[in-house]
């Protein structure tokens, strides 16, 4: 069944329009008796389809609008949240926030709410994602499943390949408004699809996944084929002695590790001696201006970058722009929230590591590592002996000061010999410093367009023990 469309019609995934959001935030601001009030709203739709055993197992469409009211009384600040949008509930929530604020001690780091701001015009909302129907999602699942099963049949193997996966789309608006005249509205969409293929003998498993703002960039057949190909070739893995290996990290594996870098960009944490960009032994000193990584390593954030397409403002409505954090291995700048910037006499910036953002801002999700030019296949072809990693499981920080992580390889771990993937190997637990890893780079590869990190080949990666899990 189809219905006529017009420019003014809300999509199937309905959420607050700019006008509706303005009306709602004005209403809430009117209820607040605080000195300063900030209203943050997420209004959106999410549609998911989950599958296992080759069929859809659960799927869901949900819509919701959640309002957070943050109140400041003198130097005290607190917030409360609700999704019940009648006047009584909103008034109760605003009153509760004021009451909680009054109870709180003075916040010596409190910054006043921002006045009106100007934001970059970033388009990361795609109708085809926002309107991704249950039928389209089921068809995509089927495409992944059938393509994967085709690979399995082609391998002339017995039994049935087990396919599981997840498709998750969302679209909605993020709104920040306050009683100083700031009103920020931005709509965005995102979608991700991942597949895991397991062989019937239980010895092989393969994973492939991707994410985008725009549904047309996701290829379910490709992701089914890739997961299945990995499952087929990972059967009957052999045990290889743990130790130091050259590794080729696929984009997903590399991205799971480099997230640590974005967290360490927080200026305050670095100046307080708590992270990898702190100078050891020097009180308040950081490694700003020093070489921290291999000279081919550059980290930047830019919501307008077509490969990032982030939001133009942060949680307090502060505009986000382009920032180069690490350039050719040198630590160029750290991320200062408004309070810390004022204290240190520098300009506040945003978009780097997770900072307080002067009261709740600072997102770390937009930091990206600059890619190289070689393909993943070339990284493998130029490897004399190493381990190819698809992705990791249970990755946990052991020591933030050296960015030391632990985790387990999963769903496709292979031995590379003389430039060729020769055999599947049993999964490993690793204990690895990311600082050391980004100083041990052999090659940085081409971006896959979706992951924050490109594939890379690094030497002396520390596998500590074996895991029997497949």
């Amino acid at each position: 069944m189809s219905s006529p469309k017009s420019l003014f019609q809300q999509p199937a995934s309905s959420f607050l329009s700019r006008d509706e959001a303005k009306t709602l935030t004005d209403r809430i601001l009117g209820f607040s008796k605080a000195d300063e009030t900030r209203v943050s709203i997420r209004s959106g739709w999410a549609g998911n389809t989950r599958y296992a055993g080759g069929q859809v197992t659960t799927s869901g469409d949900t819509s919701n609008t959640t309002v957070n009211i943050q109140c400041t009384v003198g130097k005290k600040r607190a917030s409360a949240t609700t999704n019940v949008l009648d006047d009584e509930s909103l008034r109760r929530t605003a009153d509760l926030a004021v009451r909680l604020a009054r109870l709180s001690p003075d916040d010596p780091e409190l910054m006043p709410e921002l006045g009106p701001q100007t934001y970059a015009n970033i388009s990361n909302y795609f109708e085809n994602t926002a309107n991704l129907s249950p039928e389209q999602r089921a068809a995509a699942a089927k495409k992944s499943i059938e393509t994967a099963e085709g690979v399995w049949k082609g391998a002339n193997a017995s039994g049935a390949l087990f396919m599981a996966g997840f498709l998750d789309a969302e679209a909605g608006a993020t709104i920040v408004a306050n009683n100083k005249g700031l009103f920020a509205y931005h709509r965005s969409s995102s979608v991700r699809l991942s597949n895991t293929a397991r062989t019937p003998d239980g010895t092989g498993s393969g994973w492939a996944g991707s994410n985008a703002r725009d549904w047309s960039l996701i290829d379910p057949a490709f992701l089914g084929r890739r997961a299945s190909t990995k499952a087929v070739s990972s059967r009957n893995p052999v045990a290889v002695e743990p130790g130091l290996y050259t590794v080729v990290l696929e984009p997903e594996a590399a991205s799971q590790l480099i997230g640590q870098v974005s967290g360490a960009l927080n200026a305050r944490s670095a100046e307080e001696g708590r992270n990898a960009f702190s100078q050891r032994g020097a009180n308040g000193g950081t490694k700003l201006g020093l070489k921290v990584f291999d000279e081919r390593v550059t980290f930047y954030s830019d919501p307008a970058d077509p490969n990032i397409l982030g939001d133009p403002f942060d949680a307090e409505g502060f505009p986000q722009g382009r920032n180069v954090w690490i350039e050719n291995g040198l630590l160029k700048q750290l991320q200062y929230d408004r309070f810390w910037a004022q204290k240190k006499g520098v300009q506040a910036n945003s978009g780097g590591g997770g900072g307080r953002g002067g009261g709740g801002g600072g997102r770390g999700g937009n930091v990206r590592m600059m890619p190289g030019t070689k393909s993943l296949e070339q990284l493998i072809a130029e490897c004399e002996r190493g381990i190819l990693c698809t992705h990791f499981f249970y990755t946990n920080v052991l020591d933030p000061r050296s960015m030391m992580l632990t985790g387990i390889t999963r769903d496709g771990t292979f031995l590379i010999e003389k430039g060729k993937v020769t055999k599947p190997v049993k999964n490993f637990r690793f204990n690895q410093s990311i600082v050391q890893m980004l100083n041990s780079i052999e090659e940085i590869g081409k971006s896959d367009g979706a992951s924050p990190a490109p594939p890379m080949r690094v030497k002396d990666f520390n596998f500590a023990s074996l895991s029997d899990a497949v």
Binding site: T49, G53, T93, K142, A469
Partner: protein, 529 residues
């Protein structure tokens, strides 16, 4: 047109002569906690949803309205570091059309919106049908009507925030008085959830859940180092009276003292030791190495793309065959246990709370199941009904198989922790949970703790540090040769067990006595870091 509540009650009474009033847990004499909307309104919306789903072609549907109020308060020394108070309200509708599930949820609680939402759920069912290979079959359950509320004395959400802050500050103050204590954090997590579930089979129930949890952690400095200690304060299905019973200010100094003692603990020599695990440590090991691998959906691969699968697979080779441990090992799944956070009268499919043995005398017997899953293993177990493990963490989450309380039953004889220590010549005793890591098939694991004690010649010796035990699940459980009796039994638990895509959080408790494990591999974590 949708039927009225009266029509529905009349029709379902006629149709379901066997309707029961509810399990023995029903507390009819307790006051009802109904958030702002009246219960009749919730019932009416549920009935509208069910009617709309049937009209749209669903052979089965359930509708679940949830109103959640979550409050958390965190402090550090003399400051509040975070206060959050969140309310969430909405309806989730699940439909079965020709054996395929659909689900839709909305926070817009008008009749028109709910009807639209029900139709959308049916549309999702039809879309899923296009991929169907095995239709869903629901195990039978008797429709139920009733209400239930967590037995409490004082609703923790209603306790004034001032009283909560005062309690935490008094706790921190007491800890900071202990010499060498530098930092102290404490917190409260409180929940009130009112949930109404109706099904097209005639079930119509409202349950009110109250859960409370406190947290406490201290850091001591001295001897050229710092050491932290977190007390294991489990969440409970109880009201504010539980928080008061914990007597945080009264115990804070004693807990702080453990951190101080850790400053002079000697680093462990790695090797093989007999291990005595106190219940405050063992509950998490039960959760990870027994709770998760005996989830039937994991075993069947439903979590393969996310949390992983299970080594307890395939069912035909495991049920009545897998020797998980020695005959002294009995593991019970149980959603009827008093004060446990998995406690309910009915699950999110209206199945009465169940209690059964997952492992009996060391042999694996039964998985955790929902109505959809029961038939998958019924020929092997003879159990045709669901074990009542269906749960959704919010009105906008679809219900699926989640862990009930999974507990190690105590020994018949009243053996104490002291008896176990006395019987152990060379070992290590571990208190509270530390870091943990387990692989995606729940086979190889590594667990640490908060405080470690050397056991020598049947006596507790000095304190150790940098201890973790690493083992393979069945080998580990088969090495358990001594467990405590009823009086040594204690229940731990968590509010935040993650599973599923989109990820959902489940609350569960795990009870156990202290237990001894022979010849376990101990590593020194200090060297690894």
């Amino acid at each position: 047109m949708a039927p009225t509540r009266r029509d529905f009650v009349k029709a379902s009474t006629l149709a379901a002569a066997a309707t029961i009033a509810g399990p023995q847990l029903l507390k009819a004499d307790k006051p009802r906690v109904i958030a702002r909307s009246t219960e009749i309104y919730a019932d009416d919306l549920v009935l509208e949803a069910l009617s709309a789903a049937k009209d749209a072609g669903a052979q089965y549907a359930d509708a679940r309205i949830g109103r959640y109020r979550r409050q958390s308060l965190n402090t550090r020394e003399h400051q509040i570091t975070g206060v959050s108070d969140a309310e969430s309200y909405g309806i989730g509708i699940r439909t079965l059309v020709d054996g395929s599930w659909g689900f839709a949820a909305t926070a817009n609680m008008t009749k028109d919106s709910v009807v639209k939402c029900a139709r959308n759920a049916v549309r999702l069912s039809r879309a899923a049908k296009s991929t169907q290979r095995r239709p869903v079959e629901l195990a039978p359950t008797t429709p139920v009507k009733g209400t239930w509320i967590t037995p409490i004395k004082r609703d923790p959400i209603d306790v004034p925030i001032e009283e909560k802050v005062a309690l935490l500050f008094a706790t921190n103050e007491a800890a900071l008085k202990v010499p060498s204590i530098r930092f102290c954090t404490s917190g409260l997590q409180l929940l009130r959830e009112v949930k109404t579930l109706g099904t097209t089979e005639g079930t119509l129930i409202t349950q009110t859940f109250i859960r409370s949890e406190a947290s406490f952690s201290v850091t001591a400095a001295g001897n050229g180092t710092t050491e932290s200690y977190s007390e294991e304060l489990p969440p409970r299905s109880q009201g504010w009276e539980y928080i008061e019973e914990l007597n945080l200010p009264g115990h804070a100094a004693e807990w702080a003292q453990v951190a101080v003692e850790k400053l002079t603990a000697k680093t462990v020599e790695p090797g093989r030791f007999d291990l005595i695990l106190q219940p405050t440590n063992l509950w998490l090991t039960i959760h990870e190495s027994i709770g998760h691998p005996t989830e039937l959906d994991r075993a069947m691969g439903f979590e393969a793309n996310f949390a992983g699968t299970s080594f307890v697979n395939p069912p035909e080779k495991m049920i009545n065959k897998l020797q998980y441990g020695k005959p002294l090992m009995n593991i019970q799944g149980d959603r009827t246990q008093d004060h446990s956070v998995g406690l309910c009268a009915w699950d999110d499919e209206g199945v009465p709370a169940d209690k059964w043995l997952i492992i009996e005398k060391g042999i694996f017997k039964e998985y955790q199941t929902t109505r959809e899953q029961a038939s998958w293993v019924a020929p092997l177990t003879g159990t045709k009904h669901s074990h009542g493990c269906s749960y959704a963490d919010s009105w906008d989450s679809v219900q699926f198989q989640r862990m009930p309380n999974v507990s190690l039953l105590p020994a018949e004889k009243d053996i104490s922790l002291n008896d176990i220590v006395s019987a152990t010549d060379r070992g290590i005793m571990i208190r509270n949970r530390g870091s943990w890591s387990i692989d995606h098939q729940r086979y190889n694991f590594s667990f640490s703790g908060q405080a470690f004690y050397e056991i020598k010649g049947g006596k507790v010796g000095g304190m150790l540090k940098d201890v973790a035990y690493q083992a393979v699940t069945p080998v580990f459980w088969n090495s358990m040769d001594m467990i405590g009796g009823k009086s040594s039994y204690w229940m731990g638990g968590t509010f935040s067990d993650g599973k599923g895509e989109p990820s959902q959080s489940n609350s569960i408790s795990h009870g156990c006595p202290p237990a001894r494990f022979r010849d376990v591999n101990i590593i020194n974590t200090g060297r690894n870091v």
